[in-house]
């Protein structure tokens, strides 16, 4: 059996496993973790298309995530528009936002896009807080009931368990992976990478720089918007900080930077690391673990301090993680894995 057949076989087995998990796993918590993982993969991979392949670092992807989430939720909340319809309104809105930013910033050289991306996300967040008639302001939008999804009068799902969300999440993650794969193996991917590596060289070889940057931004923004809509209907609640906050943007970037930019599997690895980590932080699992192995005692000052603060320290920990990755694995986990693999090959030879 050759290598690509082996890869395909492993892929099929993993896929089959993912498809049947809900049949065997009943724990809603386990399904929830899987759904978070799928969401993270699609967020990181969406960012990767623009940041990893085309080298345009957006520090404001919360704008697309949040606009997608808000549009779907607002339409469902005030106009009773079904989410599978509202999602496309979100996509349309996000395309407009992306093209406005892109057409202004991508003409200019320098860090304009990075700065503008932060600014636009902040504008979106402030608008969500202040346009209270549309968005409910800081209170956010709560939607408790999703209409049942029917095809030809037959109910496909009524969204009462986590299972339908599991499959939607899985589909979304696979879709973004497939699109990233297609980008990498097409003219688009070559042009993105040429722009990332050397803009002047790319320009001289016939590449219209701003057109291709805009294409990358729109693909990335649309996929991020889909992830946002999915998040909104899954959680049933959106408010400005959870979908439009700066830490959402940073989290999206980190999945990809830590996992490995410009690779298909980087965002997957990044998600496999970050999702459990942030869950462990949130639920104070780390403090409990430290107490259990006897490193700190639960009612000592240190123990109490950790219990109080560690759950809120994920931004700090992400910062430390990024520094470590940049120092020791500049190409992310994926680059590290590749290096190990090639070293093994050399030693074997």
């Amino acid at each position: 059996m050759n290598k690509s057949m082996l890869k395909a076989a492993i892929g099929l087995i993993v896929l089959a496993g993912l498809l049947v998990i809900p049949r065997f796993v009943e724990s809603p918590y386990a399904l929830h973790m899987m759904i978070l993982l799928f969401l993270s993969v699609s967020q990181g991979q969406s960012w990767n298309i623009l940041g990893g392949y085309a080298g345009q670092y957006s520090v404001g992807h919360a704008a697309y995530f949040g606009v997608g989430a808000y549009t779907t939720m607002m339409l469902m909340y005030s106009k009773q528009v079904a989410p599978w319809v509202g999602v496309w309104a979100g996509v349309a809105a996000v395309i407009v936002v992306a093209l406005v930013i892109g057409s202004i910033c991508f003409r200019l050289r320098g860090p304009y896009f990075v700065l503008a991306s932060i600014a636009v996300a902040e504008i979106m967040r402030l608008s969500a807080i202040n346009l209270t008639t549309l968005t409910n302001g800081a209170e956010g939008i709560l939607v408790t009931e999703i209409p049942a999804f029917k095809i030809g009068g037959r109910v496909v799902t009524d969204f009462l368990t986590k299972v339908p969300f599991y499959y939607i999440g899985l589909f979304l993650a696979l879709l973004t992976l497939a699109i990233a794969y297609w980008v990498q193996h097409s003219k688009l991917g070559y042009y993105f990478q040429a722009i990332r590596e050397d803009q002047d060289a790319a320009h001289s070889l016939g590449i219209h720089i701003s057109v291709y940057k805009n294409i990358g931004l729109v693909i990335s923004a649309v996929l991020t918007s889909l992830a946002g809509s999915f998040y909104g209907i899954y959680v049933g609640f959106v408010d400005p900080p959870t979908v439009l906050g700066l830490d959402v943007s940073v989290q999206i970037m980190l999945i990809c930077i830590i996992g490995g930019m410009g690779t298909i599997w980087g965002p997957v690895l990044g998600s496999l690391l970050l999702v459990p980590l942030s869950e462990a932080l949130r639920s104070n699992m780390i403090t409990e673990g430290l107490v259990k192995i006897g490193l700190v005692s639960a009612d000592s000052k240190v123990g109490l301090f950790l219990k109080e603060n560690l759950a809120h320290a994920h931004v700090l920990l992400y910062g430390i993680l990024v520094v470590l990755v940049i120092l020791f694995m500049p190409d992310g986990l994926m680059g590290f894995v590749k290096k190990l693999a090639s070293r093994r090959k050399r030693e074997a030879a």
């Binding site: 003219k187 070559y190 042009y191 990478q193 050397d198 060289a201 001289s204 070889l205 720089i209």
Partner: protein
Amino acid sequence: MPILEIKNVSKFFGGLAANSDVSFSMEQGMIMGLIGPNGAGKTTLFNCITGYYPPSKGEVIFNGRRMNGLQPDKVCKLGMVRTWQKVRPLAKLSVVDNVMVGALVRTISLKTARDMAMEQLKVVRMEHRADFLAGGLPIGERKKLEVARALATQPKLLLLDEVMGGLNPAESEEIIQLILDIKAQGLTQMVIEHDMKAIMRISDRIVVLTSGEKLTEGTPQEVVSNQDVIDAYLGESHA
């Protein structure tokens, strides 16, 4: 009809005239040598011709079409491509991927682009390097990669900016042969080079720039026997 006409091109950077009132034209299939001391404005002229800078004054006419104001990508699509004096490999891409990026201006199919790229790698004798990372190549091969990548865009006019700079004599000789091979295929070239012996061998005509101005133009024989050129440029070596 000349393939390229440069008409009174000037380029100012603030008060500095990097090119001033330069005019000459090129016929199909020829090699035009472009020489001049450091800072004479040779690279600037390439930048004006290929759309990196709009000329401050004057016109660039390629195949009868006025090129002023066109961006480099458009210039490339119309058939004019340049290499970079300071090489610009796409470092994290493989050698063949670098050349494919050039080829993709003519096709959307990766397979076609790969075939075109391998063909150009053969021309520069780098097929065996196809899967190496471009960032890891030694300077001689980086220069050849520049040429292969430019050729892959299927130009009608190729502009080479010091492709022999920094090379040893054997490598330079290989490049000279390469340029002559390309000429034999019928491709028109403009070549910036400091090595006088090399430029004399390959050029049909030579333009001499000093301080942004065209000092003279002629056949290699005419140029080396021109007293102004000897004074201004060849002074020391021919004294």
